[in-house]
């Protein structure tokens, strides 16, 4: 049996398979296949044809030497160096033994024993190397499996990352789209809010049209009546002057002149009164400039008290209510305007209008219950308090239950029947007072009274 041929077949088969030569290195696959199949053929010949034994032995040496050569030289088989180390002693000793036999050195017994012993050791060496290599191979295999697993994990993580990135991209796109939609909705809401504010403003103005008409009509009546009177008195004075000096009544003349002066002042006063009301009405309907101006808060309260009263009365002819105003004299404008405070008059006017209209509405609703002895009353009070001004609007109407009191400043909250209230009056009032760095609060005894208190800084 030629042991070298068996070894050559095994190593060729091992290298061919382990280094995946078929796929990676086709050239080496072919060479190793030739060695593999050549080795098998030589083995068969070695067994079957006895006279070919020496030929197959030397061919076995040649194959093994060639394998040692390629294992030593070729980078492809770098990792199989341990095979080279394992088989090299055996192959060389085996070759040395056959060369010795050829040149007849084996006749020396010592040499023969030495070579046989060395061959024995080389086989043991090969066996030990096989165990070590096998162990290393197993470890390497384990390591490879581990690395492969890690790579698979890495690929999996990368694939999950890719998937995640795609999902993130899709979600980002969705969110961006939603954001754009929300921005669009917000714009629409802002526009709707502006329209609602304007609608609320115009609704309150509409409610007051009759009241405003009355408030303008009264001063205009005075202007007309006093100017007619002046005309009559001037004619009377003219007649008096035309009389001879002896018949003239100087007392009457002086009295007429004094009345004429007084009436002119009255005409001027009532003209300004009508003018102020028209200006207020225009200011109320116009968008607020947001600019604070020095304002006579007492005059503003008085004006809106009357407007709210006449406005409510115009809507319901059966309505009536007492009105009381208690104004702090230190807040009167005075000749030098020192009592004025800095506010946005049209905005605070809207707040007063809302509170007063609500107050008159409440007392009117209670009046309809026909409670014996009930006298509807709405009061407005101003008071300077350090660097603030307090404005109180109170009524003796139905009061506000505690559970409702918490909601009254919320937008669109109303207790009025459909069509009678927008539910925006108090909410807008709250915003206006906040914008003035002020406070608005409410206290109420259900069934008895309600008081709204506004605190505004004076500057």
């Amino acid at each position: 049996m030629n042991f070298e041929l068996i070894l050559a077949v095994i190593i060729a088969a091992y290298l061919r398979k382990s280094f995946q030569t078929k796929k990676e290195f086709p050239k080496w696959y072919n060479i190793l296949s030739i060695i593999f199949y050549g080795g098998i053929v030589l083995l068969v010949l070695n067994i079957t044809v006895g006279r070919w034994t020496s030929v197959t032995r030397w061919l076995g040496h040649a194959l093994m030497l060639y394998l040692i050569y390629i294992l030593f030289v070729e980078d492809v088989f770098k990792k199989a160096k341990s095979i080279l180390i394992a088989i090299a002693p055996f192959v060389l000793l085996s070759l040395l033994k056959d060369v010795s036999a050829l040149i007849n050195i084996t006749q020396f017994k010592v040499w023969k024993n030495l070579i046989d012993t060395a061959l024995g050791f080389s086989v043991i060496w090969m066996f030990i190397m096989w165990i070590i290599t096998n162990k290393q191979r197993k470890e390497l295999e384990k390591e490879r499996i581990k690395t492969k697993h890690e790579e698979e994990q890495k690929i999996l993580v990368e694939s999950m990352n890719d998937q995640l990135e795609i999902q993130v991209r899709e979600r980002t796109k969705e969110i961006t789209q939603q954001k754009e939609e929300l921005e669009h909705t917000l714009d629409e809401l802002k526009s709707a809010q502006a329209q609602l504010i304007q609608a609320e403003k115009m609704a309150s103005l509409g409610q007051l049209t009759a009241g405003i008409a009355h408030e303008i009509q009264n001063p205009l009546n005075f202007v007309n009546n006093f100017s007619e009177l002046n005309k009559e008195m001037l004619e009377e004075l003219k007649d008096e002057i035309a009389k001879p000096a002896a018949q003239r009544d100087d007392g009457l003349g002086n009295e007429l002149i004094a009345d004429l002066i007084s009436n002119s002042e009255k005409i001027n006063y009532h003209g300004k009164r009508a003018d102020n009301i028209v200006k207020s009405m225009l200011q109320h309907s116009r968008a607020s400039s947001g600019t604070k101006e020095l304002t006579d808060i007492n005059a503003l309260c008085d004006e809106y008290l009357r407007l709210a009263f006449h406005g409510t009365r115009a809507k319901d002819k059966s309505f009536n209510s007492g009105m009381e105003s208690v104004f702090d004299p230190s807040l009167d404008a005075g000749d030098d305007g020192s009592g004025k405070i800095k506010i946005v008059p049209q905005d605070i006017g809207r707040v007063l209008l809302n509170l007063l209209t609500n107050a008159f509405y409440e007392v009117n609703e209670k009046r309809k219950k026909e409670i014996p002895g009930y006298q509807p009353m709405v009061k407005i009070k101003t008071r300077r308090c350090d660097n603030n001004v307090e404005i109180e609007v109170s009524d003796n109407g139905r009061g506000i239950p505690e559970e409702i009191r918490k909601k009254i400043f919320q937008p669109f909250f109303t207790t009025k029947p459909t069509g009678e209230g927008t539910g925006l009056g108090l909410s807008l009032s709250y915003d206006i007072i906040n914008a003035h760095n002020g406070q608005i609060s409410v206290t109420s005894v259900p069934g008895e009274s309600t008081t709204f208190k506004i605190i505004l800084p004076t500057s």
Binding site: H214, Q217, N225, E228, S262, H310, K317, G322
Partner: protein, 124 residues
Amino acid sequence: MKVLVVDDEHDVRLLFEQKFRKEIKSGEMNFSFAYSGQEALDYLRKSDQGAVLILSDINMPGMSGLELLKKIREESPAPPPMVMMITAYGDQQNRDSAKQLGADDFLTKPVDFNELKTKLKSVV
């Protein structure tokens, strides 16, 4: 003739005093003024201060002119005064209510004082 003018506008007094200067001086007419329905009622309840004619605004805070008229007719002081209603709202509803409550006449603002003077003189 005693005339009671009821109006929450204080300058009305000045108008009447100037317009009826001669009548007041001659004692032909005597004007009193009240600035609310309640004030007018209190005035009328004082027996020695009855008025022959009451000129009342309708649209007043507290007690309105129509409520005042109702109370006057309910309390029916003797002799029953003549009541003329004056208002800025000359609508039919107000006129009908005033007539129903027993108003003798109805004037709309701005009052034509010459017409009023004629009416008052006819009463005198």
